[in-house]
Point group: C2
Chain length 183, copies 2
């Protein structure tokens, strides 16, 4: 039995609304608010997702996928001749910039740090990222012992709720530890 047509329609409406609300308010967005934004009753949310954790998880997984795509694209640009370190810096700035506006990617980024090596996306992300890092090391732009985990750690501790000037100052303070250390 394939699912009813209006059911799939509602499912996407719910995911859209959840994405929107979590983007605006973070995972603290109420189920009532998400339901209202979707033009649906609360009970309908629970027909499609057993509990809030699962709904939020679905949205955050989407975001992790987008980040993974971004990283793989950067890896391919590097293979095409771009400087690895530039791509890495671009990635970091992009994620940080997004985290400042979008509460969803902020929460998603936190997931990356929380489940160090467990997730599916993690594997996709991790290997592509590791290749980028290795390439930057070969260019001499990155200190030899820097790992993927180090980047996750830094991204997780970034002051995403501070004004742009503070965020950029933070980057200035932190980046040298990845490159010029020990010099």
């Amino acid at each position: 039995m394939s699912p009813r047509a209006d059911a799939v329609r509602n499912r996407t409406k719910i995911l859209d609304a959840a994405r929107e609300q979590i983007t605006l308010q973070g995972p603290d967005a109420g189920m009532d608010e998400i339901a209202a934004a979707a033009g649906v009753a609360v009970g309908t949310l629970y027909r499609h997702f057993p509990n809030k954790t699962d709904l939020v998880g679905a949205v955050l997984t989407e975001h992790l996928d987008r980040v993974a795509d971004d990283i793989e694209a950067a890896r391919e640009r590097t293979a095409g001749g771009a400087k690895a370190m530039d791509e890495i810096l671009g990635l970091v700035e992009r994620v940080l910039e997004a985290s400042a506006t979008d509460h969803a990617v902020k929460a998603a980024a936190r997931l990356l740090g929380a489940y160090p090596t467990d997730e599916l996306v993690e594997d996709r992300t991790g290997t592509a990222f590791a290749e980028l890092i290795q390439a930057a090391k070969d260019d001499g732009d990155l200190h030899g012992d820097v790992t993927v985990q180090d980047f996750y750690l830094l991204i997780n501790t970034a002051p995403t709720d501070q004004p742009p000037a503070v965020r950029s100052r933070w980057l200035t303070l932190v980046l040298p530890g990845l490159t010029a250390r020990g010099r």
Copy 2:
């Protein structure tokens, strides 16, 4: 009319219990729990503090005072011949170590970053800290444009809820940005 004897006794019992509970669980400690720990009814809390925010604020202010004392002591040790940079590193490590165990200083540290130049303690802390920083710059141990705010920023972004190994790794990554930058 001076306050009744049992009233002042209860006030300190409440502050003691609040300090203890906030140390253990952070500012999320329930009013009921604090009251129970103080051996007092909830209503008594509200006789001494109009709301939870004020009670928590009182406890955190105490902690900020302790940090201020620590900084001034370091300043005086420097005046007595100690290396300024060593004192600064000691301070940072001490605060970070405490933040990992004590949820109260963690929350207090967050206050430092949140109210950049407003607080009374802030002034006491800020000037003493600024002198330390200047001394370290004179020794050539600190990059010229580093400010007190930079330290607050870094302390605020420290991964206090991570295991010791991660915390020390974070320090290794971040410290070079204060010293060897631009070299």
